[in-house]
Symmetry: C2
DNA sequence: TATTGTTATACTCTATAACTATA
DNA sequence: TATAGTTATAGAGTATAACAATA
């Protein structure tokens, strides 16, 4: 079943990708939890750092149903992190923007994620990191089925 | 702020890791959802493919509170995928094993994940994949804070 | 006393279906 | 008619605190 060539087996490659992914998720979950946030809320604050998207656009970014986004924004708004604003062009559209508090928390989270991820990044060589960056960018350019926007 | 050396900035590296991680999670979520499973249940079946762990061990694998595992196993048991068994050595301990149905579904899921991940794997060179495997293994050997067991 | 697992409770997250308002 | 967003509802997932059984 296995061969002695250099290319890793599909199985070990898939396993490595999954392990790496879970390691990253654990870090993100922990950083978010330290601020009583979910990973989804953390991603939301990342998205809103340089955008003022509609509810529908947020649903696309996060690959969620729009009804899920309603609750997500409700909870973020209740905590004073984001605000709803009506679109001037289309009265059906609700735009979401960060409050100063949300922007500040988002910046702090980005910094804490960088620090926490150092434990992972420091185990990789420059070449390995470059490979991961190449792969990540390739996925963005031509997403596998769904949009893969992240922007922590 | 930025320099012109080869090593990627911490920020872009962290972003690439996060993007890659979310891309993998989206694939896993989709494959699991096609069988009405969560990613956690998918991971559970992966863990049970070659182990018969205690509730506490599962909590460690998945980095969950034990009370969360109780519900997780309740739902899996209700679907006939796993079964509780008492330990002969220690009457406090409950061991979890797959049913034939759970084992079969676990194997099928592993295969489907491999197929679905091809869209990601195929975008990477052999060297890049080897780098990811190196990093994943380094994380397992010396986990960053918590256990990083996965075994899809 | 310490550990294993469960229960009670409360919250977040998510989807589906039905709805309102606007285009 | 079509689209944007919400509401109602249901269920999964998660944690904290308190508990029973066993070591």
């Amino acid at each position: 079943m296995s061969s002695e060539i250099d290319r890793p087996t599909t199985s070990s490659t898939v396993d490595a990708l999954a392990k790496l992914s879970f390691a990253v998720q654990i870090v993100l979950t922990r950083v978010a939890a330290e601020h009583d946030l979910s990973v989804t809320q953390l991603r939301l604050l990342g998205i809103l750092r340089d955008r003022t998207p509609s509810m529908a656009a947020i649903a696309d970014y996060l690959a969620l149903d729009r009804s899920s986004v309603t609750g997500l924004i409700d909870r973020a708004e209740r905590r004073g992190l984001v605000a709803r604003r009506s679109s001037a062009e289309d009265a059906r559209v609700t735009l979401i923007e960060t409050t100063p508090a949300g922007l500040s928390l988002g910046s702090q989270l980005a910094h804490e994620v960088s620090v926490a991820m150092a434990a992972i990044v420091n185990k990789a060589s420059d070449d390995d990191l470059a490979g991961i960056a190449r792969l990540a960018n390739a996925l963005i350019d031509e997403p596998a089925g769904r949009a893969v926007a992240s922007s922590i």
